[in-house]
Protein backbone atom coordinates (compact mmCIF):
# COMPACT_ATOMS: atom_id res chain seq x y z
CA UNK A 1 0.00 0.00 0.00
CA UNK A 2 1.32 3.45 -0.84
CA UNK A 3 2.50 5.47 2.13
CA UNK A 4 0.36 8.42 1.05
CA UNK A 5 -2.81 6.48 1.87
CA UNK A 6 -1.64 6.11 5.48
CA UNK A 7 -1.18 9.83 6.05
CA UNK A 8 -3.76 12.61 6.40
CA UNK A 9 -4.49 14.10 2.98
CA UNK A 10 -4.99 17.74 2.12
CA UNK A 11 -8.14 18.68 0.24
CA UNK A 12 -5.98 19.19 -2.86
CA UNK A 13 -4.54 15.70 -2.48
CA UNK A 14 -8.03 14.31 -1.98
CA UNK A 15 -9.29 16.01 -5.13
CA UNK A 16 -6.33 14.85 -7.18
CA UNK A 17 -6.76 11.29 -5.95
CA UNK A 18 -10.51 11.34 -6.60
CA UNK A 19 -10.08 12.73 -10.11
CA UNK A 20 -7.54 10.05 -10.93
CA UNK A 21 -9.63 7.21 -9.50
CA UNK A 22 -12.86 8.50 -11.06
CA UNK A 23 -11.25 8.69 -14.50
CA UNK A 24 -9.87 5.18 -14.08
CA UNK A 25 -13.25 3.85 -12.96
CA UNK A 26 -15.08 5.52 -15.85
CA UNK A 27 -12.72 3.95 -18.34
CA UNK A 28 -12.96 0.48 -16.79
CA UNK A 29 -16.74 0.59 -16.35
CA UNK A 30 -17.51 2.26 -19.68
CA UNK A 31 -19.30 -0.73 -21.19
CA UNK A 32 -20.67 -2.33 -17.99
CA UNK A 33 -24.36 -2.53 -17.11
CA UNK A 34 -24.27 -4.59 -13.92
CA UNK A 35 -24.06 -1.99 -11.16
CA UNK A 36 -22.57 -4.44 -8.67
CA UNK A 37 -19.81 -5.29 -11.15
CA UNK A 38 -19.16 -1.57 -11.64
CA UNK A 39 -19.06 -0.95 -7.88
CA UNK A 40 -16.60 -3.76 -7.23
CA UNK A 41 -13.97 -2.31 -9.54
CA UNK A 42 -10.90 -1.31 -7.55
CA UNK A 43 -10.98 2.44 -8.29
CA UNK A 44 -14.61 2.63 -7.15
CA UNK A 45 -13.81 0.72 -3.97
CA UNK A 46 -10.89 3.05 -3.35
CA UNK A 47 -13.19 6.05 -3.71
CA UNK A 48 -15.61 4.55 -1.18
CA UNK A 49 -12.63 4.02 1.13
CA UNK A 50 -11.89 7.75 1.05
CA UNK A 51 -14.97 8.25 3.22
CA UNK A 52 -16.89 11.46 3.89
CA UNK A 53 -14.25 13.87 2.51
CA UNK A 54 -14.91 12.52 -0.98
CA UNK A 55 -18.67 13.04 -0.89
CA UNK A 56 -18.58 16.70 -2.08
CA UNK A 57 -16.27 15.67 -4.91
CA UNK A 58 -18.62 12.89 -6.00
CA UNK A 59 -21.59 15.28 -5.89
CA UNK A 60 -19.68 17.83 -7.95
CA UNK A 61 -18.72 15.16 -10.48
CA UNK A 62 -22.23 13.76 -10.80
CA UNK A 63 -23.63 17.26 -11.30
CA UNK A 64 -21.17 17.65 -14.18
CA UNK A 65 -21.85 14.18 -15.58
CA UNK A 66 -24.56 11.90 -14.07
CA UNK A 67 -23.31 8.39 -13.50
CA UNK A 68 -23.59 5.40 -11.20
CA UNK A 69 -22.28 7.08 -8.04
CA UNK A 70 -25.33 6.14 -5.97
CA UNK A 71 -23.85 2.92 -4.58
CA UNK A 72 -20.79 4.83 -3.30
CA UNK A 73 -22.84 7.65 -1.79
CA UNK A 74 -25.13 5.25 0.03
CA UNK A 75 -22.17 3.22 1.27
CA UNK A 76 -20.32 6.26 2.62
CA UNK A 77 -23.22 8.25 4.06
CA UNK A 78 -25.62 5.43 4.99
CA UNK A 79 -28.37 7.62 3.59
CA UNK A 80 -30.56 7.49 0.52
CA UNK A 81 -32.46 10.68 -0.35
CA UNK A 82 -33.98 9.22 -3.54
CA UNK A 83 -37.78 8.96 -3.49
CA UNK A 84 -39.03 5.45 -4.25
CA UNK A 85 -40.82 6.68 -7.36
CA UNK A 86 -37.54 8.07 -8.71
CA UNK A 87 -35.55 4.86 -8.25
CA UNK A 88 -33.75 3.90 -11.44
CA UNK A 89 -34.19 7.33 -13.03
CA UNK A 90 -30.57 8.49 -13.19
CA UNK A 91 -31.42 12.17 -13.68
CA UNK A 92 -33.89 12.26 -10.77
CA UNK A 93 -31.59 10.23 -8.52
CA UNK A 94 -28.76 12.63 -9.31
CA UNK A 95 -30.95 15.63 -8.50
CA UNK A 96 -32.02 14.08 -5.19
CA UNK A 97 -28.39 13.61 -4.14
CA UNK A 98 -27.35 17.10 -5.25
CA UNK A 99 -30.26 18.62 -3.34
CA UNK A 100 -29.24 16.50 -0.34
CA UNK A 101 -25.67 17.81 -0.62
CA UNK A 102 -26.76 21.43 -0.91
CA UNK A 103 -29.05 21.10 2.11
CA UNK A 104 -26.05 19.93 4.12
CA UNK A 105 -23.71 22.63 2.83
CA UNK A 106 -21.57 20.14 0.96
CA UNK A 107 -21.98 21.94 -2.37
CA UNK A 108 -22.18 25.53 -3.52
Amino acid sequence: MAASTLQPQSSADCRERFNRLAAEWKEKSRFLSNTAQMALLRPYQAIIGMGMPVVPLILEEMEREPDQWFWALESITEENPVRPEDAGNVRQMTKAWIDWGRQRGLMK
Binding site: F31, L32, S33, N34, T35, A36, Q37, Q68, G88, N89
Partner: protein, 139 residues
Amino acid sequence: MIGGPQFPRLTAHNHRVTSPATPDYNCIAWCAGDTQHWWQPGVYWPVVAAADDFGIGVVEQAFAELGYADCGHDISLEAGHEKIALFGSGAFYTHAAKQLPTGKWTSKLGRDVDIEHDAPDDVAGGVYGEVIQTMKRST
Protein backbone atom coordinates in the same frame (compact mmCIF):
# COMPACT_ATOMS: atom_id res chain seq x y z
CA MET B 1 -16.50 1.73 -34.37
CA ILE B 2 -16.42 -0.18 -31.09
CA GLY B 3 -13.76 -2.86 -30.64
CA GLY B 4 -10.43 -3.55 -28.99
CA PRO B 5 -9.77 -6.05 -26.22
CA GLN B 6 -13.14 -5.45 -24.61
CA PHE B 7 -14.92 -6.53 -27.81
CA PRO B 8 -12.50 -8.76 -29.70
CA ARG B 9 -15.20 -10.10 -32.04
CA LEU B 10 -16.59 -6.77 -33.21
CA THR B 11 -15.35 -5.71 -36.62
CA ALA B 12 -16.11 -2.77 -38.85
CA HIS B 13 -18.40 -5.05 -40.84
CA ASN B 14 -20.54 -6.74 -38.17
CA HIS B 15 -21.90 -3.75 -36.24
CA ARG B 16 -22.87 -0.13 -36.46
CA VAL B 17 -23.54 2.53 -33.82
CA THR B 18 -27.23 3.45 -33.72
CA SER B 19 -27.49 6.07 -30.97
CA PRO B 20 -25.29 8.38 -28.88
CA ALA B 21 -23.95 7.42 -25.46
CA THR B 22 -26.20 8.06 -22.45
CA PRO B 23 -26.06 7.10 -18.77
CA ASP B 24 -29.86 7.11 -18.53
CA TYR B 25 -30.47 3.42 -19.27
CA ASN B 26 -28.51 0.19 -19.53
CA CYS B 27 -28.69 -2.94 -21.64
CA ILE B 28 -31.28 -4.62 -19.42
CA ALA B 29 -33.59 -1.61 -19.69
CA TRP B 30 -32.96 -1.42 -23.44
CA CYS B 31 -34.01 -5.05 -23.92
CA ALA B 32 -37.12 -4.34 -21.84
CA GLY B 33 -38.01 -1.37 -24.05
CA ASP B 34 -37.27 1.23 -21.35
CA THR B 35 -34.97 4.19 -22.05
CA GLN B 36 -35.86 6.08 -18.86
CA HIS B 37 -34.29 3.84 -16.19
CA TRP B 38 -31.04 2.13 -15.32
CA TRP B 39 -32.26 -1.34 -14.32
CA GLN B 40 -30.56 -2.64 -11.20
CA PRO B 41 -31.62 -5.39 -8.78
CA GLY B 42 -32.96 -3.93 -5.56
CA VAL B 43 -33.29 -0.45 -7.06
CA TYR B 44 -35.34 -0.70 -10.26
CA TRP B 45 -36.17 -4.26 -11.20
CA PRO B 46 -39.41 -6.04 -12.18
CA VAL B 47 -39.16 -8.63 -9.39
CA VAL B 48 -38.09 -8.40 -5.77
CA ALA B 49 -34.30 -8.82 -5.67
CA ALA B 50 -31.50 -7.95 -3.29
CA ALA B 51 -29.27 -5.04 -4.31
CA ASP B 52 -26.24 -7.31 -4.08
CA ASP B 53 -27.74 -10.08 -6.24
CA PHE B 54 -25.64 -9.83 -9.38
CA GLY B 55 -25.77 -13.33 -10.89
CA ILE B 56 -27.30 -14.56 -14.14
CA GLY B 57 -30.30 -15.93 -12.22
CA VAL B 58 -31.61 -12.53 -11.22
CA VAL B 59 -31.65 -11.29 -14.81
CA GLU B 60 -33.30 -14.51 -15.99
CA GLN B 61 -36.01 -13.95 -13.36
CA ALA B 62 -36.51 -10.38 -14.55
CA PHE B 63 -37.10 -11.41 -18.15
CA ALA B 64 -39.29 -14.35 -17.09
CA GLU B 65 -41.44 -11.77 -15.32
CA LEU B 66 -41.65 -9.92 -18.66
CA GLY B 67 -42.95 -13.05 -20.38
CA TYR B 68 -39.76 -14.58 -21.72
CA ALA B 69 -38.96 -18.28 -21.45
CA ASP B 70 -35.73 -20.16 -21.95
CA CYS B 71 -35.06 -21.29 -25.54
CA GLY B 72 -31.59 -22.72 -25.08
CA HIS B 73 -29.14 -21.18 -27.51
CA ASP B 74 -31.56 -20.81 -30.41
CA ILE B 75 -30.85 -17.40 -31.94
CA SER B 76 -32.79 -18.01 -35.17
CA LEU B 77 -35.40 -15.51 -36.28
CA GLU B 78 -38.85 -16.92 -35.50
CA ALA B 79 -42.03 -15.29 -36.75
CA GLY B 80 -44.28 -14.29 -33.87
CA HIS B 81 -41.48 -14.28 -31.31
CA GLU B 82 -38.89 -11.86 -29.97
CA LYS B 83 -35.66 -13.06 -28.44
CA ILE B 84 -33.03 -11.86 -26.02
CA ALA B 85 -29.58 -13.22 -25.24
CA LEU B 86 -28.13 -13.09 -21.72
CA PHE B 87 -24.38 -12.87 -21.11
CA GLY B 88 -22.27 -13.71 -18.10
CA SER B 89 -18.69 -13.63 -16.93
CA GLY B 90 -17.54 -15.18 -13.69
CA ALA B 91 -20.25 -14.69 -11.07
CA PHE B 92 -21.83 -11.73 -12.84
CA TYR B 93 -24.54 -11.24 -15.37
CA THR B 94 -22.88 -8.81 -17.73
CA HIS B 95 -25.13 -7.99 -20.65
CA ALA B 96 -28.36 -8.57 -22.53
CA ALA B 97 -28.94 -8.15 -26.27
CA LYS B 98 -32.24 -8.15 -28.14
CA GLN B 99 -33.12 -9.51 -31.56
CA LEU B 100 -34.61 -7.04 -34.03
CA PRO B 101 -37.42 -7.94 -36.47
CA THR B 102 -34.75 -8.04 -39.20
CA GLY B 103 -32.91 -10.87 -37.44
CA LYS B 104 -30.02 -8.60 -36.45
CA TRP B 105 -29.42 -7.78 -32.78
CA THR B 106 -29.27 -4.59 -30.73
CA SER B 107 -27.15 -3.86 -27.66
CA LYS B 108 -26.79 -0.91 -25.30
CA LEU B 109 -23.16 -0.96 -24.19
CA GLY B 110 -23.19 0.13 -20.55
CA ARG B 111 -23.40 3.93 -20.34
CA ASP B 112 -22.01 4.11 -23.86
CA VAL B 113 -23.74 3.81 -27.25
CA ASP B 114 -26.35 1.46 -28.71
CA ILE B 115 -25.19 -0.72 -31.56
CA GLU B 116 -26.82 -3.02 -34.09
CA HIS B 117 -24.85 -6.24 -34.63
CA ASP B 118 -25.20 -9.37 -36.70
CA ALA B 119 -25.32 -11.95 -33.89
CA PRO B 120 -25.17 -12.10 -30.08
CA ASP B 121 -21.70 -13.60 -30.23
CA ASP B 122 -20.33 -10.43 -31.83
CA VAL B 123 -20.23 -8.67 -28.45
CA ALA B 124 -18.97 -11.73 -26.54
CA GLY B 125 -15.44 -12.91 -25.87
CA GLY B 126 -14.33 -9.83 -23.94
CA VAL B 127 -15.84 -7.67 -21.25
CA TYR B 128 -19.20 -9.48 -21.44
CA GLY B 129 -17.87 -13.02 -21.30
CA GLU B 130 -20.05 -15.41 -23.27
CA VAL B 131 -23.73 -15.91 -24.13
CA ILE B 132 -25.20 -17.98 -21.30
CA GLN B 133 -28.82 -18.26 -22.32
CA THR B 134 -31.35 -17.19 -24.92
CA MET B 135 -34.98 -16.46 -24.06
CA LYS B 136 -38.03 -15.75 -26.22
CA ARG B 137 -41.60 -14.55 -25.90
CA SER B 138 -44.57 -14.24 -28.22
CA THR B 139 -45.11 -10.87 -29.85
